[in-house]
């Protein structure tokens, strides 16, 4: 009668015999890497196509002063669009909705700047006059002196710095441009957080 130890030894040698010729037939490193990259592209493509519902306070945005903004990170929905996949969807111009990232707080004060267009809003987190403010324009045109800029996570955006403010324009789904004016020292990652890919 075989004891448990005998049987275990037999199993070990049986397993060793049965698997001695079992080795990977393909170069798994390159195969897995290739499939991983392809899967990442598919996931990004799906996410870019889905508007971020959580950031859908349409038409409002908030810029955070540099000392406050430095403590915040861009929300995931804005960052995942970084490596745009090569597909027919991004052959067309990328469109964005300017939206207030909820993680920065709740907009408590919305005003129209005296000199602004009808679609321009001055926003502040918390109470009016608290010092945390930003200006967005939801329907405007691209000025001739705006230059294409590279902000991680955004494609086809333009920018211009005027003194201590910086304005970023992005094409929107209405066929015009949306603009966000923030403190010039606001990090790119915080700026990117305001832009959500439009469906």
């Amino acid at each position: 009668m075989l004891t448990d130890d005998n049987l275990a030894d037999l199993l070990r040698s049986s397993f060793a015999d049965a698997t001695k010729t079992v080795t990977p037939t393909t170069d798994l490193v390159s195969t897995v890497r290739r499939k991983h990259v392809a899967a990442q592209r598919r996931r990004v493509a799906v996410r870019v196509g889905v508007p971020a519902v959580a950031a859908a306070s349409v038409g409002v945005a908030l810029a955070v002063p540099a000392q406050h903004a430095a403590t915040h990170r861009a929300p995931q929905a804005a960052r995942v669009s970084t490596p745009l996949p090569i597909s027919s969807s991004n052959l067309a111009q990328a469109s964005y909705r300017v939206a207030f990232p909820q993680k920065f707080g709740t907009v408590g004060c919305v005003e129209r700047p005296a000199s602004g267009q009808a679609s321009t809003w001055l926003l502040e987190a918390g109470n009016c006059g608290s010092g945390v403010s930003a200006v967005i324009t939801t329907d405007t045109s691209l000025p001739a002196d705006a230059k294409p800029i590279a902000i991680d996570g955004l494609t086809g955006v333009y920018g211009r710095t005027d003194g201590d403010t910086r304005t970023v324009w992005a094409h929107n789904d209405r066929g015009s441009y949306s603009a966000l004016t923030v403190n010039a020292s606001t990090p790119d990652s915080d700026i990117a957080a305001f832009f959500t890919p439009a469906s």
Binding site: L2, D4, S14, L28, T31, R33
Partner: protein, 169 residues
């Protein structure tokens, strides 16, 4: 997360062992390679979590894939799984004959028991490591090992009896 050279090193070192485990779990070389690729891809996707213990992570994924396959196969008509395992062994002496007999019998064990024996006696995992890979308690691993060895012993005895009867005819 970008994959670095540490992932490549992990794949090179761990894939032969994972493939052998997968082969014994499913009994089919082609399926085993598919399962290993899928396990490695899922490990790559969660590399930030998995890189602390990548082999354990990949093995857990592999076992889960095997479970999915067992469930799927349980709904289908029975196929002869052990054909490939049998073909790999050429009996030369009594010990090898016994080993030859053992593997087909292993494939006839319930999936969970087969997994426990594979992880414990092919991968030489401890009870705790086996429990982690299977997502069960150490006590369950011990009882499954005990039941599996008893079952194998019974099957071996029945098999030997059949051969004696066959030889007597």
């Amino acid at each position: 997360m970008q994959l670095g050279t540490d992932f490549d090193d992990f794949v090179r070192v761990a894939s032969p062992g994972l493939l052998r485990t997968a082969f014994l779990l499913c009994g089919d070389r082609g399926h085993a390679e598919d399962m290993v690729q899928t396990a490695l891809l899922r490990t790559a996707r969660r590399w930030s979590t998995a890189h602390a213990q990548p082999v354990a992570y990949a093995r857990r994924v592999l076992v889960n894939l095997a479970k999915d396959r067992w469930r799927d196969r349980a709904r289908r008509p029975l196929e002869h799984e052990s054909a490939e395992l049998e073909l790999q062994l050429e009996p030369e002496d009594a010990q090898i004959v016994l080993r030859h007999t053992l593997l087909p019998l292993l494939m006839s064990l319930p999936a969970r028991q087969r997994a426990v024996l594979t992880l414990r006696y092919l991968d030489d995992l401890s009870v705790e490591e086996t429990a982690a890979a299977l997502g069960c308690s150490g006590g369950t691993v011990k009882s499954q090992t005990h039941d599996a060895l008893n079952r194998l012993r019974t099957l071996l005895a029945e098999d030997t009896l059949k051969e004696i009867n066959h030889a007597d005819r």
